[in-house]
């Protein structure tokens, strides 16, 4: 057993370094994905056929293809069109952004559509414009409802960063693979990697429960 702890202790600095990259990709990707998701989610719930169409194509395209394919396409295929390469970190962040964006768009759309039509009618009857109605009446209520699925998406995207090991962004899964390739301690290393993911996801889950409880008080 002493050997096991020794292996993990030696690998830990590298793994934590990988974990920080995992978190960097997740946090930046989710922030950008959140902006993208709100934008496309609102477009999806708008009455404008063009905006709705663009958003629908985006959401279907991303949800209909595996993230691994998206990541590989971004990193290896896209440069042949645009003529320059992304770094593995950039490609990873973009992959998480567009992926989370599509799922968050659906979360936002369903949140907006779950708000009773009477709320919009009451706001419009007071003379508020469509935009004001969205901003002051619909979105504040929709956001309360979408916080739990949004946090859930955060956990999913965080775990999905492990897929990005295929393009070698240096996140924790990739670091684990490299360590195992050198020391062949697959059980110890991959178990540690799994536990690291688990700890982060549990922390998110606890924050989520607190948030939900606070929202309920209002």
């Amino acid at each position: 057993m002493g050997g096991t702890f020794q292996v993990i202790r030696e690998a830990m600095p590298q793994l934590l370094q990988g974990l920080s990259i995992t978190l960097e990709i997740s946090v930046i990707g989710l922030l950008l994905g959140g902006i993208l998701g709100i934008l496309f989610g609102l477009m999806r719930s708008s009455n404008n056929a063009v905006l709705k169409g663009i958003a629908t194509v985006y959401v279907e395209l991303i949800r209909g293809t595996p993230m691994m394919v998206q990541a590989i396409w971004l990193y290896f295929a896209l440069p042949q069109i645009v003529g320059f390469y992304f770094s593995t970190l950039q490609a990873s962040i973009i992959a998480i952004t567009i992926n989370a964006g599509a799922y968050i768009a659906e979360i936002v759309r369903s949140g907006v559509q779950s708000i009773d039509k009477g709320q919009v009618e009451a706001a419009r009857s007071l003379g508020l414009t469509g935009g004001q109605t969205m901003r002051y009446v619909v979105l504040p209520q929709a956001f309360r409802r979408i916080i739990p699925p949004l946090v859930n998406q955060f956990a999913i995207s965080l775990k999905d960063t492990s897929i990005l090991s295929v393009i070698g962004a240096g996140e924790v899964m990739r670091v684990g693979q490299i360590i195992v390739a050198n020391n062949f301690k697959a059980l110890q290393i991959y178990s540690t990697v799994a536990i690291l993911y688990l700890i982060i996801v549990e922390i998110i889950s606890i924050i989520s429960q607190r948030l939900e409880r606070r929202m309920r008080v209002d």
Binding site: E121, A122, A123, R124, S125, L126, L128, Q141, R144
Partner: protein, 242 residues
Amino acid sequence: MIEVQNLHKRFGTLEVLKGVSMTVEDGEVVCLIGASGGGKSTLLRCINGLESFQEGDIIIDGVHLADPKTDLNAVRREIGMVFQHFNLFPHLRVRENITLALRKVRHLSADEANEEAMRQLQRVGLAEKIDAYPSQLSGGQQQRVAIARALAMHPKAMLFDEPTSALDPEMVGEVLGVMRELAAEGMTMVVVTHEMGFARTVADRILFIHDGVILEEGPPEAIFDHPREVRTREFLSKVLNV
């Protein structure tokens, strides 16, 4: 003055309003009665542009709703609407429910909006609830707040869409009481209602709407005591003898 001219409203192939014409003079209280599905609520919702219509026109103080250049937001802020299900904003306190449009539409300062909210809440007898959330109020209280919210905009006319239908029986009186006071103060009101007692004692004119048309209209005594149309008699005998 509200003038409805030959209004036609279709939902797909279903024609809900089949050529409705009516006028409401300033200070007049008009009650729309009739069986469910006859088009009463749709007519009311057309008047403040919540529903579009296919033919005819609605003219409010000279503004034509059928004119595509008409700013419906400008029309709506001059006409108050009270809904069957209150439609208060659940995430906002009573105060903010009332001040939201005052701030964003009328551009009042926070102090001015607060004063106005307090004034209107006193009018409906709910000043002490200014910091409550809608969910902390009874149905009757919520509807009175909804009335205060509409009144705070100082509308030229108030539209009521079955304002007591969703209330427990013991709360109907408090809402009708507020509406009676409004009528006595000279507010122009169009009320879709099943409260025949209210219609009879408060309305200047009753419109009986059946199957998308105004079948009969007149002062309450004429409609309730001497209805001309068979359909009106049938409807009244059903609602008055329960």
